[in-house]
Each structure stands twice: as C-alpha cells, then as structure tokens.
C-alpha cells in the first residue's frame, strides 16, 4: 500500500478573460448574405423589425478570430484537471465516460433530430429509450420510468409533483402537506419538497448513523404525504430498518420515494420496489456512466414508479404497441411537464450504452469493486495521523464510501479541511468532497473509490493524504498557502460574498472596479 508521488504541475497560461481579447473587426464566423432575390423581395432587415424593437447599440462582445477562440478555450480545458488526475469525489460515483458512447452520441441520428418529428422518424431513439426503461425496471422492480428530469434534484422534484397529483386525485392533498426526510438525505429532497409546497420534517441521526424507527413513528401522521430518503446515506451507512420504515409510512397513507443517489454499492444487490418503495430515482450522469460535466450537466434523473403512480408521471411516456414505438401524450392524470420535451436524449443513450457494455455481471462486479475499494481505502486512510471516521463504534464495513473527519488534525495543527483540499490539487489529485450541509461531522471528507480507478491510483490518493498529514504536523504553512502547483492560486472568497465587489459578469467587474478606483 505504498506509492511514489509523481511530480505534477498544472499548465499555467495566464489566460485573459475572453472579454479582454480581440481587435475591432475580427470575427470567428462569416454569416452569408441573403440571396439577391430574397433581398429584393423583403428589403432591408431593419424594416422588418417594429421601430420600438430595433437594437441601436452593439453588444460589447469580444471580436476574435476562429483560431483565437479555439485556442483560448483549449487552454482553459488544459487548466481543468477534470478526471486526468485521481478524482475520488464522494457522492458522485466516479465513472469512466466511455469514448464509444461519446462518439455515438455526436452522430447526426442523435444531434440533428427534433423532438417534434413524427414518431415514425424517431423509431431508433424511442427504441433505445424504451429498452433502457425496461432495464431500469429490472434493476429497481418499478413499473414505469420517465427521463424528463434534468438531474437528480429534478427527479426529486418530479417525485414531489407526482406525489401532489396522486394525493390530489384522492382529494387528500390539502390534508397531506408534510414530507418526511432525514438530515443525511441529499438537500435536494428537502428543498424540492418545500418548493412543491410541502412542510418538511427532518429526522436527525441516532447513534447508529441513521434515525430511529421511533423518531419516524413520531413524525408520521395522516398529514404525511411522502417519505423521501437515501439509503445508504453518503457516510456509507445503510439503514437496515428501511422495510419497516416503508410499512409505517404506507400504513399512514403516505408514499415512499427512494433517492438512489448512492446506488453504486447497491446495484444488483437491492431493488427499491422490493423494500416497498413506490418510486425511486437514478442519476444516469453518475451511476450509469454518462458525464455530468463537473457538477453541471446535462444530466438525467431517471424517475421510476409503481403501476399505481404511473398515471401521474410527466408526459410523454415512451410506449410500444408490439410493432411500433410511440410517444404517449394522452395521460389525463399526468402531473404535467417538469421540463420541455422528453429528456436529455444523449444522456439516456450513453447510460443505455454503458449498461449494455457492462451486462448483469459487470454491474454486479462494479458494485463489488466499489465497496471493496472503499474498504481498502479505509484501512489506508485510518492509518494516517489526524484522520478519524464517523461513527467509530459502528463496526460493519461501510458501503461505497466512508465519511471521515480531520477534526483531530485541525485541533493539533490548525490545518482545516479546505487547506487540505487546496494542497491535494498540488499533486494532481482532485480536491476531496467534504460533505453536504449541514456538516454533522466536523471537518468532514468523503472520498469514493468507485470502480474506475486502479489500485495504484487509490494508493496514490492515500499517499497524497499521508504526505499532507506529515506536512500539517511539520510545516502547516505550506498547506495554509496552497495550492502552489496549480493553474491559479488560492481564491479570495470574501469578495464573492460582498455585494459591492462580487462580479458575476465582466460588465459588473468593470463597473465595480471603476467605482473602487474612483473611491480610492
């Protein structure tokens, strides 16, 4: 379990902001002129615009040639570590993004297709979506999937919208105005429930690392609309009483939504429907190998539910009549649209391609390896000075990730988790994930080994943290001033929270800088 640390230094281009680049008259595209006959027929473009709506100024965009634009953005890509280092970013389920999937997703049969084309000209895409729906049904036990939600939080919102439509159809929505979740469930569950108009009841953790059944029973009532919960949570702890939880909520007339954000360790092991859940969500941009573009998307939260809830899902649903695939828009009980059209089709395609490359055995093995690798990491990390684990008394092996704490290191050296994050990037290792808010464990960090990285990479990650621990105890200043080998130095975060100085656009930056200079 030892690794020699490589020399690493990020490319530094001192790249200007695009707004500072260019020269008047340069351009990166040449738009053709309208044909002569077109011009003769319709006249000047300006005359086709109502007078009140004509633009009189020129937008202050940069004037840059094509190669200048290209190389500017390629340099920015080079100053992005992405997954070139070792990125064990917890709760994200690092996945290799297979190149064949990208190659297919950029074919014109995917990119040059309009969502309102007649179904007869969409048979290829509809077939893939339908096949993937069936695959997710098998993996979860659910009866229907839809792919409209543009991410996991959007799928949680979809669940809230379906929950509203379901209770409204029974005349109980006014009465059922509470959604129960737990403090370790992703913030989006609480946030989407509130945005959908529900009151949120949050259960706190007990000593075992999950809330007690008694706490749930005290919260459940005839006002309960639904339970929204992760299992395992992102400390790697699984609530073994979940079947009983679902039973209790159902008995009170509520629905149960399983946020499968941490599905990687569960794939082929546990199915949401068999535990009793009415609905669940998978993140295709994480668990199923599609890229999520540095926390940005485009993503897909695949929402699946039981036959009982299927009438309420957003329209349209992809269906098959035995011969032909079609979009079923005729669903009068539907909760409506969560987003325009029917989903991020390229992402669904990539997820389908990933599962077809893995097969049932590959999926089971990915789950095994991610849990094995996490436990392998744990042994190495707990041997590092200043590192402890959440719930040290819970002795069962953690699943695909473990929550650690650097509280001891901070107490003994003054170095905090953000210092460590910044220093890690000096070694070509992406900053580790701390924890969702609120931090239940002080100075938390949550690496997730996943199945993509080899043992050597995991050993490197451990060795980097070991080296940083040594530095914390011998030369903390090197951590306090990190990063040193990166494309950029440590950021001033205060500016970004100050209304007088934050600048979300270049316009705002120029205006505020001018104000500062004048005042100074």
């Amino acid at each position: 379990m030892s690794a020699t640390l490589r020399e690493y230094h990020a490319p530094v281009w001192n790249e200007p902001v695009i707004m500072e680049m260019g020269y008047p008259g340069r351009r990166g595209v040449a738009v053709p002129e309208a044909e002569e006959e077109v011009g003769a027929e319709v006249g000047e473009a300006t005359d086709l615009i109502p007078a009140a709506m004509r633009r009189h100024d020129r937008p202050a965009l940069p004037e840059v040639s094509e190669p200048e634009v290209l190389y500017h953005y390629l340099r920015l890509s080079q100053q992005t570590l992405g997954m070139m280092g070792v990125s064990l970013f917890g709760t994200c389920t690092m996945k290799y993004n297979p190149q064949v999937n990208e190659a297919i997703a950029w074919r014109p049969e995917v990119t040059e297709v309009h969502p309102y084309q007649d179904d007869d000209t969409l048979q290829g895409t509809l077939e893939i979506v339908h096949r993937f729906d069936n695959i997710l049904r098998e993996m979860s036990g659910m009866d229907q999937f839809v792919f409209q939600a543009g991410g996991g939080a959007d799928a949680a919102y979809t669940s809230c919208a379906v929950t509203r439509a379901y209770h409204a159809s029974r005349g109980e929505l006014e009465q059922r105005d509470e959604i129960i979740t737990t403090i370790q469930t992703h913030p989006s569950n609480a946030a989407t429930a509130a945005a959908a108009g529900f009151k949120v009841i949050t259960l706190m953790l007990d000593e075992d690392g999950y809330p007690s059944l008694d706490a749930l029973k005290a919260a459940v009532s005839d006002r309960t609309a639904a339970l929204m919960v992760n299992n395992p949570d992102d400390m790697g702890v699984y609530n073994p009483e979940m079947r009983e939880w679902v039973r209790v909520v159902h008995e009170a007339g509520g629905l149960c939504f399983y946020d499968s954000a941490n599905f990687n360790g569960m794939m082929s092991k546990v199915r949401a429907r068999e535990i009793g859940f009415d609905a669940c969500m998978f993140m295709l941009h994480k668990t199923f190998g599609a890229p999520k573009s540095g926390v940005g998307g485009p993503a897909v939260g695949a929402y699946g539910c039981s036959a009982e809830l299927a009438p309420f899902v957003p329209t349209p649903v992809v269906a098959h009549d035995g011969e032909r695939y079609y979009l079923d828009h005729d669903r009068p009980k539907s909760c409506g649209k969560i987003r325009e059209f029917w989903g991020n089709v390229p992402v669904v395609l990539k997820a389908y391609a990933w599962i077809r490359a893995m097969g049932a055995e590959g999926v089971a093995e990915a789950s095994d390896i991610s849990v094995l690798a996490n436990n392998y990491m744990e042994r190495g990390l707990l041997a590092i000075r200043g590192v402890t684990r959440s719930h040290p008394d819970a002795t069962s092996p953690r699943l695909e990730m473990t929550r650690y704490s650097l509280a001891q290191m901070k107490e003994e050296t003054g170095v905090d988790v953000h210092d460590v994050q910044n220093r890690m990037t000096d070694f070509g290792v992406d900053a580790m994930w701390t924890s969702h808010e609120p931090w239940l464990i002080p100075e938390p960090f949550t690496p997730e080994a996943g199945e993509m990285y080899g043992k050597e990479a995991l050993d490197t990650w451990i060795a980097v943290l070991a080296r940083i621990s040594d530095e914390a105890y011998s030369d903390p200043e090197i951590l306090k001033t990190a990063p040193h080998n990166q494309a950029v130095h440590r950021l001033d975060h205060e500016t970004m929270e100050d209304p007088a100085r934050w600048a979300m656009t270049w316009r705002a930056y120029l205006r505020k800088r001018a104000n500062t200079v004048t005042e100074g």
């Binding site: 300006t46 937008p59 634009v69 920015l76 991410g151 699984y238 950021l491 001033d492 209304p499």
Partner: protein, 467 residues
C-alpha cells in the same frame, strides 16, 4: 468454465487485484463487506439484463438502431417551437467535447480553474447581449428559468399571482404551472392568462389591465413570442406591471439580440430565455437550457436559486480567480430554507454557448439576426401566395410564423404527412393547443435555410394543398 477476462472499464476487475485488496483488509470475500444489508433486503437472483457487448458489438447495435431515425440532415426541417436548427460552428463541437470538461465529478476552483473561467465567460457574454450585470449559471430549460423567475418575483413582492401571455408554448406553460401550482398548496401562485390579439398576435393590453392588480407579482411575456411575433409593446406592458407594483419578466431568444433591443431597454426587471440557439444542437430536445438575468442588485441576487460564478482576486497579485458565489443561499447550503432548489443543469452546454458567442461577436449576431429575418419573411411571403394558405401574423415576426391551412380544407396532420413523403418536416401543428387558430402550423426558418430550400417548401406546399 472459462474465467472472465477483466472488464475494460474496471482496472481492479483482475481477480488477482481483488484478492490483493481483500488480503489487505483481512476479508475472506467481497460478500463479507455487504454485511450491513439485511438478507431480506437482498435480491436473491442475478439481474436479468441483456448480455454484455464488446465495443464493436455495442457500436454496431447502437448505429443500427439509431439508423431508424430520420434526421434534419436527410429531411428539410421547418420545426422549431422551442428547439431550433441553427448552424453550429465546428469549433464549438471541438471544444465542448473535450474530456477535461466531461467528468463525472465536481472540482474545486484550484483544480478546475479553466472550467470556472469558461463558465464566467458564458455569463459575461450573455450579460453583454442582454446588457445586464447579473447572470446566473444556466438552468435546465427556458420553462424552468421562467418558473424560477416567477417564484423569485413572488418572493420579492410577497404576492401570489402572475400574468402570463396566452401566446406561450404549452410545454413551457405546463412547466410554469408545475412551479406555481396546485391550488391546494399554501405556496400556490395563480397563473392568470392574458389574451392576445387574434389579428396581430400581440398581447391584448386591455385584458392585461384587467388581469393585473394588487396581487400580481409579475407580468411574464416573450419576444419573439411562441407564435413568432416580435412583441413590441414592451414599454406599455412594463408600465402597466410597474404601476401595479409588479415585476416585469421577459422571455427572449438570445440569437435575436444582435438586431432586437435587449429587454432592459423597455423595462424588464428579470430576463429569462433559452440557451439552445447559441451553439447547441437540437439533440431531440436534449439540447435545451435556460438562463436568468437581472440588474446587479442585492434584492435580486438574494433570490436566485442558481449558482453564480464570480471573478475574484487570488493570493497572487493581478491574477484572476473564479469561484462559486452566494452558494450558501442555495438549497445545497440551506436545504428546504434555500431559494427553491438547484442541482445538475446544463453547464456543458454553457461552455458551448460561451464558444459560440465568442465566435459570433457583435457583427456575427447582427448578421445572423438579419439573415434569419430576411429568409423567414421571404418564406412567409412565398407560402402566403399559395391558394387557401394564409400567414396569420404577416408582419413583425423573427424566425417563426403561423401558417393557417384552414381554407385548404386539409388538416395539418395530413399536410405534414405528405410533406414528409417529400422529405420535408413541416411546421409544428398548433391545432390542438390553439384551436382558435384553426388548422395552423408554426414554421421555423433560420440561417440554415437557403432560398432554394424555401422555394422547395413553397412549391411542395403548393402541390400538396392543391389536391
């Protein structure tokens, strides 16, 4: 039995490595590591999934299946209605496909400096097109942006109604309703539709005055509208909204902003819109994205549910840093007390948008806007010459226009079917969502359509409707 070879995506699937890791942790088997899972929770059989494919097999399977699609490269397409065929420069695709961006993880400002800068440049360039100082990172679609903006306005004003023009994409309206309703919820925002003039397609200002009142949080309208019309009564609409103490929210297609006035010029408080026309391919609707922008005032900034990227100083004098600002006010920081919710959006497309805007520059936007206007109007005039065919709102549209086939005695469904047989995707059928427009379709013409394409459409329509 043949031993399985290691899987190509999983470095640790070599049996000897798994054994080495098991030995290191002192476990007898991987199964031991799942001891947290109660037996009664476990699936007792292997998953029944199709067999694993090699890369070659997979490629063949996907290519063969997708070949059943008809593309807008093979068909001449006039479909728009919220997802449009615009030219995407090759340099955009080259940049956006870089693997450095395509990660499954998040990164910190220190490790992903370039990506953060590209995101800031997206906001900055959009800010110039809009002449607005505060632009959030994109949201998932135009409808999502409109829904969030309406909720922002409701929080700012403490009111619970929104006036929305009736000439709106039914899909977008459905998303807005999802963000505002249903009536049973205490946070309900009533969506009140404002009529449009059947002659002009413009908002009916008398009806707007009827609808707007002391409960109105915002008036929401779009220009160009869903029906393609350039709404030019913005100043009057904003005046009516402001007189009632309501916010003015305008939805806009940013590719029009090289030729059309930015909404702040006629009184918009919050501007939303789509990002797809800015260098993102249609992707069967998977290319959509939305944006929210406003004046850089704290009252607005504090209500955004989106992430912001701010430029800031670093430890090195003169160096730019870029990081997430006002993160704590989002649902990530505050859970249910946050401003709505945030999450994965369309940030990869934001990079495409940034490259596109940089390539276009001010002159590119002006040129493309003018070309679209001229070609769209040319197409409309040719089509209007066909017997029994009428262009509903013949003046003041940008790239889309409504074609009314009622007098031909043919349905849009029939006409589109015959057009398809001629290799053409006709306009979006409006007859179900806008019955008052009869057998009408929304046609979209952009810079990709040549005069020959437009003549072919007119000739084919003429032939089809003559039967």
């Amino acid at each position: 039995m043949k031993e399985r070879v290691a899987h190509r995506y999983m470095a640790n699937s070599v049996p000897a490595i798994k054994q080495e890791m098991l030995d290191a942790i002192g476990a007898g088997s991987v199964e031991e590591l799942f001891s947290q899972l109660p037996t009664e929770h476990r699936l007792s059989r292997p998953l029944d999934l199709p067999p694993a494919l090699s890369e070659g097999e997979l490629r063949r399977h996907l290519v063969d299946t997708l070949a059943k699609n008809g593309t807008t490269e093979r068909y001449l397409s006039f479909l728009g209605a919220g997802c449009w065929q615009h030219h995407v420069p090759a340099a955009v695709d080259e940049v956006v496909r870089r693997n450095e961006w395509l990660t499954s993880v998040s990164g910190e400002p220190s490790s992903d400096h370039g990506r953060n800068q590209a995101w800031f440049e997206f906001c900055s360039q959009l800010g110039e097109l809009l002449t607005m100082d505060l632009v959030g990172m994109p949201v998932r679609s135009w409808g999502v942006a409109a829904g969030h903006a309406i909720r922002m306005a409701s929080r700012i004003t403490g009111r619970d109604e929104v006036a929305v023009v009736r000439a709106i994409d039914p899909e977008r309206l459905s998303v807005i309703r999802n963000y505002c309703e249903p009536v049973e919820m205490p946070s309900h925002i009533s969506v009140r539709l404002v009529a449009f003039d059947p002659e002009t397609g413009l908002m009916d200002l008398d009806d707007l005055r009827e609808v707007v009142g002391e409960r109105t949080a915002a008036v929401y309208f779009e220009t160009p509208s869903y029906l393609g019309v350039i709404e030019h009564q913005g100043s009057e609409i904003a005046a009516i909204a402001h007189a009632a103490g309501a916010q003015t929210i305008v939805g806009v297609d940013p590719i029009s902003l090289g030729v059309l006035a930015p909404p702040v010029d006629y009184g918009a408080d919050i501007v939303v819109g789509t990002t797809q026309p800015l260098g993102v391919r249609m992707n069967t609707g998977g290319g959509v994205g939305g944006f929210i922008a406003s004046r850089d005032e704290e009252a607005y900034a504090r209500q955004y549910p989106t992430l912001f990227v701010s430029v800031t100083d670093t430890a090195k004098e003169g160096e730019y840093g870029f990081g997430l600002a006002l993160f704590e006010q989002t649902s990530y920081g505050l859970r249910e007390k946050g401003k709505d919710w945030t999450g994965h959006s369309v940030y990869m497309w934001a990079i495409a948008n940034a490259v596109y805007m940089a390539l276009m520059g001010p002159e590119g936007f002006k040129d493309v806007g003018e070309l679209i206007l001229r070609r769209a109007h040319y197409a409309a005039r040719r089509i209007a010459m066909i017997d029994g065919v009428r262009v509903a709102f013949p003046s003041g549209f940008f790239k889309e226009f409504v074609v009314d086939f009622t007098d031909t005695g043919r349905s849009v469904v029939d006409i589109n079917k015959e057009l398809r047989a001629h290799g053409i995707f006709g306009g979006k059928d409006l007859s179900r969502d806008f019955p008052e427009l009869g057998q009408s379709a929304l046609f979209c013409v952009t810079e990709v359509h040549t005069q020959a394409d437009l003549q072919r459409l007119a000739d084919t329509l003429s032939e089809v409707t003559a039967r």
